[in-house]
Amino acid sequence: MRSRSAPAPLAVSAVAVAALAALPLAYLLIRGIGGGADAWEIVTRGRTAALVGRTVALVAGAPALATAIGVGLAWLVVRTDMPGRRLFGVLAALPLVIPSYVLALAFIAAIGPGGLTGELWGGPGAAWIFGYRGATLALALATYPYVFLLTAAALRRMDPSLEEAARSLGRSRAAAFRQVTLPALRPAIGAGAVLVALYALSDFGVVSLLRYDALTRAIYNQYRSLFDREPAAVLGLVLVVLTTAVLVLEARSRERGRLRRSGAAADRPAELVPLGRWRWPAVAACAAVVAVALVLPVAVLEWWALSAGAELPSEGEVAGWAGNSLLVSLLAALAATAAALPLAALAARRRTAFARSLERVTYAANALPGIVIALSLVFFATRVAEPLYQTLALLVFAYVVRFLPQALAGASGALLRVDPKLEQASRGLGAGPWRTFARVTAPLVAPGLLAGATLVFLSTMKELPATLLLRPIGFDTLATEVWTATGVSAYSEAAAPALLLIVLSAPVVWLLQVRTRGEGAAAEEPPPRE
C-alpha cells in the first residue's frame, strides 16, 4: 500500500509537540550563550573543574558497581543451580520500587548521625556515607536492577549451542564463558551500564541528601543563591554536554550490539552450572544485596515511622501531600499521553524520514536531567512568561517534557501492534470507520497507552528536582516532603511519605517484569525512573 502524505492536523500537532518538548533545551542554550562573559567565566573556574571531576567519578563508579552486582546476580539466577534462584530472580528486581533518594534517606536514617544505630546503641553514626562512597553505593544499589534485568534476559535469550561449540573446540566451562558468553552479553551489559550512567548523571536526590558535590547539587545551590542565576544555566549546559557524551557512547554500543547479534535464539534452556561448595556462599551474596537494597530501607523507615509519636506528621498532612502527588501525577500522565499520540501515530503509520526525525528529536531533547529542564523553565517563566511562574500548569508541563519518552514508547509500541491490514479487514467486513476504531483499533492500542501513562504517573510521583524548582508556593508533595524532612534529619517525618512512595511505586516493577518476560524487544529499554 502506498503511504499517503500525513494529514495536516496530525503533522501540525506532532510538530507542535516536538517543538514544545525541545523548548527547555533551546531556551537554556539561548540563555547560556547570551549569558555573557561573566557567566561563562564560571566554566574556567577551578571549582567547576572539580565539580565535573566529581560528577565523572560518580558516573564511572556507580555503573561499575551496579554492573558487578547486576551481572553476578543475573548469572547466578539464570545459569547456576543456586538454591532459591527463582525467588532471587524476582527479589533482585524489586529494589526498583525504592526511589534512589529514599534509599539514601534509609542509609542516613539507619547508620548516619542521629540514625537508628545511634538511637539504639549510641555513637556518632557513620560519617563515611556522606560523600562519594555513600552516593556511589546508594545509586548502584538503586539501579543495579537495570543491569540485572537486561543481562538476565540476554542470558535467557542466548543460544546455548554457542557455549557448547566452544566446549567441543576444547574450552573449559570457565574459558567458554569468558571467550564466548561474555562477548555475547556485552551489548546488554553495556545498555544497562549506560542506563545507570545516565541515571547517576541526572540524579539530584541522592547526591543532595548524601552531600556529594556533583553538578546537579551545585546547579541547585547556585540557583538557590538568587543573586546570580546565570552561572546555574552555564553549569546546566555543562551537564547537557556530559549527558550528550554518555548518549553518544550508548549509540555506539547499540550499533555494535546490532551488528554482532547472533541470528539464532535459544530454543532450549542452557545447562545449569553446578556450584558445588559455592552454593551457600552464592545464596549469602544474593541475600546480602537484597537485604541492603530492599529489606533494610523498608525496615528502617518502618521503625522511624512507628517510633517517636510526637514528631509524626498528622494523617491529614500526609493525605494532603499524597493528594498533591496524585493530582500532578495524574495530570502529567494524561497530558503526556495526549502529547505522545500524534508523534507516535505519525511515526508508526507514515514511515517517513520526517516522522522518524520528529520522534528522535523528542527522545534526544528529553534525555535531559530533570534539574536542567526545571532550571530552563524557571528562566523561561521569569523572563518570558511571568504569569506561568510557580503555577501548576508549568509544573505539569515540566513533567510532560521530562517523561514524554516513556509515554511515547508506550504509544509507539501500541500503535505498531495495530497492523493496518486489521483495520482494512474490519472495513472489508462492513464496519465503518468509527465502528472499526471502537472495535479494533482502540482495544489493541489501549494496553500500551495505559502502560505508558502508568509509567509517567509513577515517574512523576517520584520526581524531585523539577517539583522542588517549579511547584507553586506551599504546594508540598510526598517527594518534596521526604527531601525537606531528611535535610533537617527529621527521619520520622520523612518515613511516612517515603514508605507511601514505595508502596505507590511497586506497580512499576510489576510492569517492568511483565514487559521483560512478555516481549524481548521491550526488555531492551526499561523505563527510566525518578
Binding site: D159, S161, L162, E164, A165, A166, R167, S168, L169, G170, R171, S172, R173, A175, V180, P183, A184, R186, L259, R260, R261, S262, G263, A264, E271
Partner: protein, 353 residues
C-alpha cells in the same frame, strides 16, 4: 577400529526416556547417518557422544577410551567436532578466528599445540570452498546476496571450524534443516566430498531418509529412543526390520500373500522372498517395482497421477479394492482413469508375518 562406541546408553529427562538402551558403533573413517523422526532421541544420542549430556546408564567410548559411564570426560577433552543445527558461529569473531578457535586451545593428552595456525585455517577454508573469506564476520557472509547464500556459507564455516582441529569424529546435527531443497542437495554432495577428502569419521543426525540413504555408509534407524536397525542403505531400504521402518525409509506397498518354497506369492504374481519360512504374510513391494501397462482388458484403474518430472507416481485401484502405488519413468505415460494391467518386477522382496 571403533572411533565411537555407545553401549546400551540410556538418557532420561524426568519421566521421558529420550535414549533407551541404545548401542551403536562408528568405525574409523566411516560415515554413519542416525535417521529417525523428530523427537526420537537422535539429537540426545549425539549430545551423549559430544559430552553435552551424561548417560543415566550405559557407557560411551571414544577411540577406545571410556568417556562416560564409570568415568567422565568433559566435552573439551573428547576431540569430537560439532556442527550444530544453527551452526552456532561466534558472532563476535571473524570467520578465520572462528575456524582457529579450536586450534589455540591446549588439548592436553590428545594433541600437541600446533604451529602454523594461519596455514591450517587457510587450508580448511580452502577445503570447504571459502578461500579468502577469513576476514569477514559471520553476519557479513552473504556478501550482499540472498539469505540462502549466507546460510550455505555459514554452514561451510561451521564445518571448517569443526574440522580444523582434526577431530576423531565430526557430529552433524541436521545441518541443512534451514536451507532450501535445491541448495541442500548441492551442499550434501559437497559435504560428502569434503569428508572423503579429509578422511574424517562422521555421524550425521537427520530426519530425511533420502539424505541418510544418499550419504551414509551405514544408516542407524532410531525410533522412540531405541536403535532398531543399523545397516547399509540398500539393505535398510529393501530389508527393513518391520513395517514401520519400511514406511519410514521410503514409500511402501504391502500386498497380502504367502511364502512357499522361498517365493512370495501374491495376486500379482510371485517374487523371490527374503528370509525363509512359510505361511501367510505381507509382502513389501516398493513402488518402483510395480509395472503398469495400458490394457483395455486390465482389471486395475489409475485413480491418481502425479507427474514429477523425473518420474510419474500413480495410484492404482486393483479389482479387490486395494490401492497400490507405482512409480514409473516419466517417458511412460499412462493417463488418469486408464485401465491397466499390473506386474511386479525385480525382487527379492521382504515379507512380514
Amino acid at each position: 577400529m571403533a572411533t565411537v562406541q555407545l553401549d546400551r546408553a540410556t538418557k532420561r529427562f524426568g519421566s521421558t526416556v529420550a535414549v533407551d538402551g541404545a548401542s551403536l558403533t562408528v568405525l574409523s573413517g566411516e560415515f554413519v547417518a542416525l535417521l529417525g523422526p523428530s523427537g526420537c532421541g537422535k539429537t540426545t544420542l549425539l549430545r551423549l557422544i559430544a559430552g553435552f549430556e551424561a548417560p543415566d546408564e550405559g557407557v560411551v567410548r571414544i577411540a577406545g577410551h571410556e568417556v562416560a559411564g564409570g568415568t567422565w570426560q568433559p566435552p573439551e577433552r573428547r576431540n569430537v567436532g560439532m556442527v550444530f543445527q544453527d551452526y552456532a558461529l561466534f558472532p563476535h569473531l571473524t570467520v578465520a578466528e572462528n575456524v582457529a578457535f579450536g586450534l589455540g586451545a591446549c588439548r592436553r593428552g590428545l594433541r600437541r599445540r600446533r604451529a602454523g595456525e594461519a596455514g591450517r585455517v587457510a587450508d580448511v577454508l580452502e577445503l570447504v570452498g571459502l578461500p579468502g573469506h577469513g576476514a569477514r564476520f559471520p553476519h557479513e557472509l552473504s556478501g550482499g546476496q540472498q539469505q540462502r547464500v549466507a546460510l550455505a556459507r555459514q554452514q561451510r564455516v561451521a564445518l571448517a571450524r569443526a574440522l580444523a582441529p582434526e577431530p576423531g569424529i565430526v557430529c552433524l546435527d541436521e545441518p541443512w534443516s534451514a536451507i532450501d531443497p535445491l541448495l541442500r542437495a548441492q551442499l550434501r554432495d559437497e559435504l560428502a566430498d569434503i569428508l572423503r577428502t579429509a578422511g574424517t569419521t562422521a555421524l550425521l543426525v537427520t530426519h530425511d531418509q533420502e539424505e541418510a540413504l544418499a550419504l551414509a555408509d551405514r544408516v542407524a534407524l532410531m525410533r522412540d529412543g531405541r536403535i532398531i536397525q543399523v545397516d547399509a542403505p540398500e539393505r535398510l531400504y529393501h530389508e527393513p526390520v518391520d513395517r514401520w521402518s519400511a514406511e519410514f525409509v521410503g514409500a511402501a506397498n504391502f500386498l497380502g500373500g504367502r511364502v512357499a518354497r522361498g517365493r512370495a506369492v501374491t495376486a500379482l504374481g510371485d517374487l523371490p522372498a527374503r528370509g525363509g519360512g512359510g505361511g501367510t504374510c505381507d509382502v513389501l513391494v516398493r513402488p518402483e517395482l510395480v509395472q503398469l501397462a495400458p490394457d483395455e482388458g486390465g482389471d486395475a484403474v489409475v485413480t491418481l497421477r502425479e507427474f514429477r518430472g523425473h518420474d510419474v507416481v500413480y495410484r492404482v485401484r486393483l479389482a479387490d479394492g486395494t490401492d497400490l502405488w507405482s512409480q514409473r519413468p516419466s517417458n511412460e505415460a499412462v493417463p488418469l482413469g486408464a485401465r491397466v494391467s499390473v506386474r511386479l518386477e525385480g525382487g527379492p522382496v521382504a515379507v512380514f508375518r
